[in-house]
């Protein structure tokens, strides 16, 4: 569905100010009398705290206060669950051990706060941290995911019988039956490592308490202003209206910033009130690595039951999921893995089961992709293994099993992160796969290019993979659209922005409904002072859920404008049109009234209010989808591997994506590009490594490799498809995470293909050249 603005690649309205630096980020904010916070963090992953001596630190000039758990009394308790437990899933079990704001008696991961210093400057605060002496009794750390569940393992939470945090088993059809029907059952084990959601801007918070107005203002680059406001108010015994959360411009979210009731927001809100001074804490990069949530390790044991001709009859996937020291985000990540394992293919029998495991590592919460890519990785790897064992091509086996274009709506029988059965609303997977093969010139590469280059001794390979992305889940978002007396429009929403172009795309939606210039639509996001309802920025749901709410609110305003104008212009509504900032009679262009004048008249003077009407050219609307809209696509990749150094060069990538109606195709391209880059990080570079004592050994960008611009494929071709979602009026599906999802799968397959003659097969992601070298050596030895 295209309009004057919707479906057009207009330039981002927010960019001129961002590019010229004429904007405010959190760390730009300085308040009179502002103090600074720093955390004393645990050096141990697992230890009992015997005593903490803060006396020296308190004496340092410029230190206002040093606080440990003891100083906060009853205020310190585990935070609330950020998402509900999986009670909707039959037989699911779980325990909740949510985040402690500051360690009491025991530390459970290296980097967990044991004290907080408030000082006149961050420098002094850090000096004071050096003067805090903690006497620990070190305990054996729980690091290995599988050993953690063995009897006799040390316990992260000693009040629990084991480190098991939960268990989910879901089945459609019968795996037992599949094994009976199959000609061949292929078994593999896979390891998925842990990555950071390293945004360019780290986390941070500024809290100001106005003791006269009894108002708290929080500036924070959070992905969820509403949750932060509500949880803060509840904790401090305030009305929600006494807490205002404002997100300044924010340099990326990628998942970790969705969390609330973290040590910083719990402790700093309290101390800002207690000390009656504004306090700033801005995370440094080392803290971000150590103590901001990251994502997963998983170990998968997988079996694929196939017929000789490659037809899938069943899949069984059993996996362990590392949730770290606490599990405030419950099972979102492993449930995403579970639902995305078989989404693209016809798998009549599917048994999927996982255990969530506590370890002495950082808490796991979603990072872009949020577990989806590992379901996809497992399935794509199994198809590659099956193709190899059956002597088929990777293309043939996928073609044979892809869900057909007439399969929708497709009921998966598997309950997902939104606790309803996963339903694929729409799509056309065979076409996106075919289009990818064409863009990557698969046949030509395999039949002509590859043999020629191989004859010259070059190790070139190709991979193709399919993916889906469950997006735009509930519960709901809302928006208010208001036309001002100046004829310009303001959109406010509780949704938050971290760079996704909402200021442009939401404006495009409204401009089309109200017939105004898109530049006359101002979008305000993430400020509870303007809009107090919503869930948050996650699950690629901005444009799908908040965008749809915006669309519905704009439609209501349009109706109001038409109704009022009809009366004033003395013409039936059907004959009116909204364009160029006016409402006019379609056939008589001289007969019109500007939206601004209408807005003024919509605020009735004494004696003119009609009973039963509402004032203002203003409306609020909410949208909550029954279930998420599923985007999908496919990717092809050609690589060259240096046969000696195992350096991998990404020669060409073709990426075909279907997100229904793209409100702004250029913005969609940007999301795909960024996602691909993050996927390349995942596949090749990024890895949070903990040693056997639970110490993070990759706590800086010197050790944690992050994809650079120079790591992108030499050639990148995007292809778009549009199968509109029937779930919302604009036909939109989310796109925020799509790019990242299939890259580890396609990368692994392409490198394997390049090194085909060695017989190497990879069972993990993050394939550094050294790892590839080791795999090849092992394959040669085998």
């Amino acid at each position: 569905m295209a309009g004057k603005y919707v479906h057009q690649s207009i330039l981002r309205l927010e960019d001129p100010e961002l590019i010229t630096g004429n904007v405010q980020f959190l760390d730009d904010i300085e308040l009179p009398g502002m103090l600074h916070a720093a955390f004393k963090r645990s050096d141990y992953a697992h230890a009992r705290i015997k005593s903490i001596d803060v006396s020296e630190a308190r004496k340092l000039p410029g230190v206002i206060g040093v606080y440990t758990a003891e100083d906060f009394g009853d205020y310190i308790k585990p935070g609330p669950l950020q998402v509900p437990p999986p009670t909707a899933i039959k037989g699911a079990t779980y325990v909740a051990r949510t985040t402690m704001p500051i360690a009491k008696d025991k530390v459970r991961f290296a980097g967990e706060p044991v004290a907080i210093v408030i000082a006149e400057s961050r420098y002094i605060a850090e000096d004071a941290c050096d003067l805090i002496y903690v006497d620990y009794e070190p305990l054996e750390a729980v690091v290995d995911l599988e050993k953690a569940l063995q009897p006799g393992s040390p316990l992260v939470h000693e009040d629990l019988p084991s480190n098991e945090a939960g268990h989910v088993r879901q089945e459609r059809g019968s795996w037992e039956q599949a094994v009976k029907e199959a000609d061949l059952v292929i078994k593999r084990k896979f390891f998925i490592n842990r990555n950071a959601g390293a945004a360019m801007e780290n986390r941070g918070i500024i809290v100001q308490w106005d003791k006269h107005a009894k108002q708290m203002t929080i500036w924070c680059g959070t992905q969820s202003v509403i949750a932060l406001r509500n949880q803060t108010a509840a904790r401090l015994g305030l009305f929600e209206s006494q807490v205002r959360v404002i997100t300044p411009n924010t340099g990326g979210g990628f998942g970790p910033k969705i969390n609330t009731s973290l040590p910083d927001d719990v402790l700093i809100t309290y101390l800002a009130m207690k000390l009656d001074r504004p306090i700033k804490w801005f995370e440094d990069r080392r803290e971000n690595f150590l103590a901001t949530t990251s994502e997963r390790d998983q170990v998968h044991y997988c079996e694929l039951a196939v017929k000789r001709d490659g037809t899938i009859v069943g899949l069984k996937d059993f996996f362990y999921h590392n949730t770290g020291a606490y599990n405030p985000y419950m099972m979102t990540v492993p449930l995403n893995t579970q639902t995305h394992t078989v989404t693209n293919y016809r798998v009549p029998n599917f048994l999927t089961e996982f255990y969530v495991v506590f370890t002495n590592q950082m808490i796991v919460t979603p990072v872009r992709g949020a577990g989806r890519q590992y379901g996809v990785f497992v399935m794509e790897r199994m198809l590659d293994a099956a193709a190899r064992e059956l002597g088929m091509s990777p293309v043939e086996i996928r073609r044979k099993n892809l869900l057909p274009a007439n399969a929708y709506p497709y009921y998966t029988s598997i309950i997902g992160q939104d606790f309803v059965e996963g339903v694929l609303d729409s799509g056309d997977y065979p076409t996106s796969f075919q289009k990818t093969l064409e863009l990557i010139e698969y046949d030509k590469f395999v039949n002509e290019v590859q043999p020629k280059l191989r004859a010259q001794g070059k190790k070139v390979g190709i991979g193709v993979a399919c993916f889906s992305e469950g997006t735009g889940v509930g519960p709901y978002e809302g928006a208010r659209v208001t036309v001002g007396g100046n004829g310009k429009v303001v959109v406010t929403t509780g949704y938050t922005s971290q760079g996704q172009a909402h200021y442009t795309t939401f404006a495009q939606i409204v401009a089309d409904q109200l017939g105004v210039d898109v530049k006359d639509v101002k979008v305000i996001t993430g400020d509870t002072g303007y809009f107090g309802w919503g869930a948050g920025t996650f699950a690629s749901r901005g444009i799908t859920v908040a965008g749809t709410a915006t669309h519905l609110a704009a439609q209501k305003v349009r109706q109001k404008a038409l109704k009022l104008a009809s009366k004033i212009l003395e013409a039936p509504e059907e004959e009116l049109e909204l364009a160029d900032g006016v409402v006019r009679v379609a056939d008589i262009p001289s007969k019109f009234i500007s939206l601004g004048d209408l807005a003024t008249l919509a605020n009735p003077m004494r004696g003119t209010m009609e009973p039963g009407t509402e004032p203002g050219l203003e409306a609020v609307a909410y949208y909550g989808p029954p279930y998420g809209a599923t985007g999908a696509g496919a990717v092809g990749l050609i690589v060259e591997v240096d046969p000696e150094t195992m350096q991998v060069s990404l020669e060409k990538m073709a990426f075909v994506h279907d997100c229904g109606t793209p409100v702004n195709p250029m913005v969609v391209d940007g999301q795909i590009h960024g996602g691909i880059q993050m996927g390349i990080g995942d596949a090749f570079y990024e890895e949070l490594i903990y040693d056997e004592n639970g110490q993070l050994v990759t706590a800086s960008f010197m050790d944690y490799l992050f994809p650079q611009a120079t790591d992108m494929p030499k050639k990148l071709v995007l292809g778009h498809m549009e199968t509109p979602s029937p779930l919302n009026p604009l036909g939109i599906k989310g796109v925020g995470e799509a790019g990242a999802i299939p890259i580890p799968s396609v990368f692994t397959q392409a490198v394997e293909n390049a090194l085909q003659e060695t017989g190497v097969e990879f069972d993990r992601d993050t394939l550094s050249p050294s790892r590839i070298f080791t795999y090849v050596q092992q394959a040669k030895g085998a």
């Binding site: 961050r122 150094t645 120079t710 790591d711």
Partner: protein, 290 residues
């Protein structure tokens, strides 16, 4: 990530800088471009009591030709200046090529030629380059100076022969011999990243293509830049063959380097890289030698 408290001195002449270093003794630390020292201080891994900042000492910023065809480079000359200097490119084409591989442009705009040498990071390019080019270093202190050969300068990771009151003032590169050829080979995980293994090869051949000299310097695979003893033994006096080069590569990788296993690569992989890179580097250097 804020540094621990420190004193700060900003001399404007070499004399003043040397006097300050003399007074401070072990408490003093020279600040050049700060691209390594400042992050280390921010991590509080380095806690110097006092910094002596050379950025205002104008007389330390220069590149001068020497009469014998070599170059003298002031210790504070920025990497990016060395990288783009036409005289450097003319007399030592290998230098800008190697310098380009140091981190990223922003870092090269601040980082200095002498600072990298004095810092002696075993993974840094310039220390190895200075050994490969047989550089000499002018080391000054209040009331005295001495010359040290690059080969004798590096004692261990981040350790040199410099005494606390001394300062590296100038790097002299002797001219490339007639018939020289050079090559730089490195493998790093990313563009601008630390090398997992790297080698600078400088060879000299006579009119009959016989090898007269072969300086092969490995770095990032041991505690200091490693000048191969094997390479000249096998190559000098002979016309280099592919077999001889392969033999050198094999021997160096087995006997002369000591890479460790780290999170980015196993020792076995890095040893393998040394073999591959030495072979590629020597082959390229001999092709270029004229």
């Amino acid at each position: 990530m804020k540094p621990a408290p420190f004193e700060y001195y900003a001399p404007t002449s070499v004399e003043e800088a040397l006097a300050t270093l003399q007074t401070l003794g072990y408490d003093g630390k020279v600040l050049a471009g700060g691209q390594s020292l400042i992050p280390a201080m921010n991590f509080r891994m380095a806690r110097p009591a006092a910094l002596v900042d050379l950025n205002k000492v104008n007389e330390l910023f220069y590149i001068k030709p020497t009469s014998d065809g070599g170059l003298a480079i002031g210790t504070m000359t920025r990497d990016s200046v060395v990288e783009k200097d036409p005289l450097v490119a003319e007399r030592f084409p290998i230098v800008p090529y190697v310098v380009k591989h140091i981190a990223h442009p922003q870092i090269r705009n601040r980082g200095t030629f002498g600072g990298a040498i004095a810092h002696a990071d075993p993974a840094a390019q310039i220390p190895a380059l200075s050994v490969a080019l047989n550089a000499r270093f002018l080391v000054r202190k209040q009331g005295g100076e001495r010359w040290v050969n690059a080969e004798d300068f590096f004692m261990g990771p981040f350790m040199t022969v410099l005494e606390p009151e001394e300062m590296l003032a100038e790097v002299v590169l002797p001219p490339m011999a007639k018939g020289s050829g050079a090559s730089y080979q490195q493998v790093s995980r990313q563009k601008g990243g630390y090398a997992q293994a790297a080698v600078i090869s400088v060879v000299v051949v006579d009119e009959n293509k016989r090898c007269k000299d072969a300086r092969v310097v490995l770095f990032s695979v041991g505690e200091t830049p490693i000048l191969s003893q094997t390479a000249p033994k096998i190559l000098v006096g002979n016309v280099p063959t592919a077999e001889a080069i392969a033999e050198v590569a094999e021997k160096i990788s087995k006997e002369e380097v000591d890479p460790g296993t780290d999170i980015h690569g196993t020792a076995e992989y890095r040893r393998h890289l040394v073999k591959v890179l030495v072979r590629r580097g020597l082959t390229e250097a001999f092709e270029r030698a004229k």
